[in-house]
Symmetry: C2
Subunit: 354 residues, 2 copies
């Protein structure tokens, strides 16, 4: 079986690179945009439709799946791929971000973090090992280690303290992963908030471990765009060039462009499907436009003339606006298909240009 | 171009018959179940998916479309087929049923009916001619005339009075239709409530007009099933055998079976998609079962073992239950696909047996 990550080409005018990452469910060509299927489903878009719009890999969330329906249930169903009928690669987030962003009540102790479920208030514990166990049961291709996602605006001291715990947890995770007989990949996850020295320290600490790739977490957490770009542009090139680099949670076209130029390879974001559910679509020039506007009432054009997506090949702005106004379920599906395709095609085009 | 309706075969042990009805968008083989796309969309199911599950013809609603987005807008978009990207036949209801079921405020006068929109309370008028105009602008293949749908429980006197108006309106509609240069079909619509003598009178009055087919309205309006079956079984055979016969608003498997045995050819119902949005599916023996039940939590079977629908070929009850619990949009889509396919396959099988 093929393994590992190959750089196929490097840009001459930026840090951008083309690569190919092998996973247990085949390879992905990077840079790649990963649609998000938080609860074992990309909202409003079926697996066949995802394949049709060029998705190579999707992301799902350990936090959500561990709480509902439970990783044991998914394992009994033959793993996440069989459960959701998606035979291509899947990356699972560790749940760290959700524990620290969805939960107001949580307590970090020496072994991990105790939190209350956002569904029913029941108590749960995540540890560096049990989030790996969850992801092994899910059978994802790329696993992420438990981390603390420090909120934007935290002090240097707080960020440093959180990061130290994250580093301990990740060291535990990588040891545990190596002790297991699994071909699932495990990425390291760099934290350090908005502080360049902490980011540098995080890179230094984590690159000592034999992770399959490295992710930059703690961006797209509410910071000004200039800060996000600074972190991406300074931290990405510090990561080992021979490993895939994943910037977590970004999906705005301009951010994807910055990240790819900085040498990043993988991206995920709920934005395209969330915008779609609110009637918003990407149009030329990366505008986000509300199709609810009265000016589209009689508009016979597709969302974006020239777009090759399923929706644009079939439906007018006038029809899609009608579906939104009429609160038809198909509106979310058709707009999501366009928005996801828009980002996948953007990243594909940027990859081709390298 | 082919025209008209041909009986291909008649059952020996019942009034059931196989037929083929030609419309401007091709033929439909009858008996046929028509999925409902009230607002120019079958809820949660895209046109390609409808074709994939064997839908030959869909129904849409003049009332809803006239109010939103407006029949003029749809005409400007090239008609309903182009607007919603459905190139097969479409039957449009006249709106009579909606005016009399959704509206508490309405007034019948000599020219038609004035009612308030359920969307914004604005005043509108439907007349026998203008509902034809709406449907001509929509460009549906089969049009229905304006009628009064008398509520279940109405007196003989009230039902008779309503029916007399309906007959006048239908006579006006058929004259107007004949004066137009359109290849759209127009069906007559029999009323008469639960009263055998009124039903007989309605058939006698309406069959004097050169309608393309005949519908039985005013069933599935809250009456006991025995009454529904009696009306279907007594009225259907009274309709001209050489014209298609359409029982409006029925979709329960047992009702479809009764209607087909009585010699009816066409049926529509929102039931399969509405049940789906509430997590309910058809299973063997025509049971309606809630997939939310805990007993399906680990169930690896498809909704109905042996079912050939898109959903059953891919997904387990456990996964679908998870989607329902997680309030994922795809749940409605996948359950709708199964339920619509269930009814289409049932009617297809009954047709094959004739």
């Amino acid at each position: 079986m093929h393994r590992g990550f190959s750089i196929l080409k490097t840009a001459t005018n930026s840090n951008a690179r083309r690569g190919r990452l092998w996973t247990p469910h085949g390879y992905i060509d990077t840079p790649v945009f990963m649609p998000v299927g938080t609860q074992a489903a990309v909202k409003g878009v079926l697996p066949d439709q995802l394949t049709g719009l060029g998705a190579q890999i999707i992301l799902s969330n350990t936090y959500h799946l561990a709480l509902r329906p439970g990783s044991e249930l998914i394992q009994a169903a033959g793993g996440l791929h069989a459960f959701m009928h998606w035979d291509h690669p899947i990356l699972t987030d560790s749940g760290g971000y959700q524990v620290f962003s969805l939960q107001s009540q949580r307590a970090i102790d020496s072994e991990g973090v105790v939190f209350k479920s956002h569904l029913d208030g029941s108590k749960h514990r995540f540890t560096p090992k049990n989030v790996i166990d969850h992801q092994v049961r899910l059978g994802s291709d790329i696993m992420m280690p438990l981390d603390i996602c420090t909120p934007y605006g935290a002090s240097h001291k707080q960020t440093d303290a959180d990061m130290a715990i994250t580093h301990r947890w990740e060291a535990e995770a990588v040891d545990y992963w190596q002790s297991l007989d699994t071909d699932q990949l495990l990425f390291g996850l760099v934290q350090g908030g908005m502080f360049d020295d902490l980011r540098q320290a995080s890179v230094a600490a984590l690159t000592q471990h034999p992770f399959s790739g490295f992710a930059i977490g703690g961006v797209s957490v509410g910071e000004p765009m200039a800060d996000m770009h600074r972190i991406i542009e300074t931290v990405t090139p510090q990561l080992p060039p021979d490993k895939p680099r994943y910037i977590m949670g970004i999906g705005l076209p301009e951010n994807l462009e910055v990240a790819i130029r900085a040498g990043a390879d993988m991206f995920d974001c709920v934005l395209p499907t969330r915008l779609a559910r609110h009637g918003q679509v990407f149009m030329d020039g990366h505008q986000r436009v509300s199709l609810k506007q009265a000016k589209f009432k009689l508009d016979p054009e597709p969302i974006q003339p020239g777009c090759d997506c399923y929706t644009c090949l079939r439906f007018s702005r006038a029809y899609l606006r009608h579906l939104i106004q009429a609160r038809e379920l198909s509106a979310a599906t058709l707009l999501s298909i366009h928005n996801v395709r828009y980002l996948i095609r953007l990243v594909d085009a940027l990859r081709e240009q390298i």
